[in-house]
Amino acid sequence: MASIDSIAENLRHLDEFARADTVVHRLDPRAKVVVTLAFVVIVASFDRYTVAALMPFAVFPIALAVLGGLPAGYLAKNVALAIPFALLIGLFNPFFDREVVFHLGSLPVTAGWISCASIAVRAVLTLGAALVLVALTGFPAVCAALEGLGMPRVFAAQMQFLHRYLFVLVDDAARSTRALALRSGGNAPRPTTVASLLGLLLLRTWQRAERIHLAMLARAYQGELHSRETWRFAAAEVAFVIGWVSLFCILRYYDLTRLLGTLVARVLP
């Protein structure tokens, strides 16, 4: 119950950050979406044993978060939540891929451990970037940008409704679970009870969807969600896209971490 409430709280925070007004907020959402997509694709394109060369990519989410006034604690907490899932994906790599690559002191490090670490690093980077994008742009603007970039209108509308009614649904679920907990007398509720609660929640959501549709029709809805916002893809946006994407390309083909390492090794013989 507390966890459902905290989900809602977390979502509200995300929306609050999006309402601030900084250099990053003022950029056309399409520019931010394009750069973030490029970031995700390039980070994903690395070889599966890459770890060190990925590190410099952290500059993108961090730079944006700093410029956009996003608290480091919030970002760290939410990205940390995703790490267990990423580790789950890479969990079996150390067991199957036992080839020893190098020794850390006396500890042998296998290729499996490296690929597992690589998955975790990629997850942190891409999720961090996506979170920063939504927090500094706002979910509805991201939807509008995706639509502007060619995503079918139906999907954009669905995502927008998902965002709007997630708050209503989460409140509804929190009330139901609270009512359930209050009448459970401290025992864990039976699976059948939970199932029927979820079923009712689904039916209520369904009914609500019908009422919303009626309300939309009553206001002359004809299949298109018009946006009031008019964004301009100006010089700043072009510079933003070209600048970041070129940096990503450079980081993709030149291993900055290794270059730095060789440099340091050369200076300190």
Binding site: L217, A218, R228
Partner: protein, 259 residues
């Protein structure tokens, strides 16, 4: 020749599960009237309201808005003429911000951006909610949501306002504010409500529904004096017409019209 006219001619409605919600209902509401639809739970109030802008189609009978019968062809025109404020504002406010929501209707009507914004601003100022324009709907209080929901309809410049339970869930002050707002409108107004004191204060005329039929249609004051009718339809006198529990004196009826 008036757009402000609403007429139901022998309307019946049967739901797909076979339950009959309206039986042979005939009502005629003319320009500038403020009419209340009252009745017990399940008497057919909400079903009746949903017929007024074509959200539901009559199983038999005819609905006329302005000078046109409500058909598939006239649906768009009718929905522009009849502004419907739903009971639960959360169903009505579905856009990311208040201003987006109020501009939703005008933009759907094909108005240019600037006109839509100007109309939205006027509507929000009318209900005293312009300062809320950039807020997302879920951060509004109940009273604010209700007022914004009314603005979303006003921005479409309807001739007829239909409201389902406009005062439900409001605190006493928010309820009074909403009543003052509704009483100032020049539109033809049709309100469905259980708030009988609001009905008495705002509506000169009341239609009583009972089990899907019109049980009475007349001056609100006369209807609320008919004890037998009220009892039969699971209603009661508005509190303003009942004795004071402390001193036993019946308050004078509120202003408007002859007592």
């Amino acid at each position: 020749m008036s757009h402000h006219l609403v007429e139901l001619r022998s309307v019946s409605h049967v739901y797909p599960d076979g339950s009959v919600a309206l039986r042979d209902v005939s009502i005629r509401v003319t320009h500038g009237e403020c009419v209340a639809i009252i009745g017990a739970n399940g008497a057919g109030k909400s079903t009746l309201l949903l017929h007024l802008n074509g959200c539901l189609a009559a199983s038999s009978g005819e609905v006329r808005v302005g000078d046109f019968p409500l058909t598939r062809k006239t649906l768009t025109q009718v929905r522009r003429t009849v502004g419907m404020v739903f009971q639960n504002p959360d169903d009505q406010l579905f856009m990311p911000t208040v201003l987006d929501d109020v501009a939703f209707g005008p933009l759907n009507l094909g108005l240019p951006q600037a006109d839509a914004e100007q109309r939205s601003r006027a509507a929000l100022e009318r209900v005293g909610a312009w300062h809320l324009r950039d807020k997302p709907p879920y951060l509004l209080s109940g009273g604010e949501k209700k007022r914004v929901a009314i603005a979303t309809v006003l921005s479409m410049a309807p001739d007829i306002l239909v409201m389902d339970e406009p005062t439900s869930g409001l605190d006493p002050v928010a309820r009074r504010q909403l009543m003052a707002l509704v009483s100032e409108f020049q539109h033809t107004r049709i309100l469905a409500s259980h708030d009988l004191d609001m009905v008495l204060a705002l509506c000169e005329r009341t239609v009583v529904l009972h089990e899907g039929r019109v049980a009475a249609d007349g001056a609100s004051r006369d209807i609320f004096r008919d004890d037998a009718l009220l009892a039969r339809c699971r209603l009661e006198k508005p509190l303003a017409m009942q004795g004071c529990p402390v001193c036993g004196v019946v308050r004078l009826l509120p202003r408007s019209g002859a007592a």
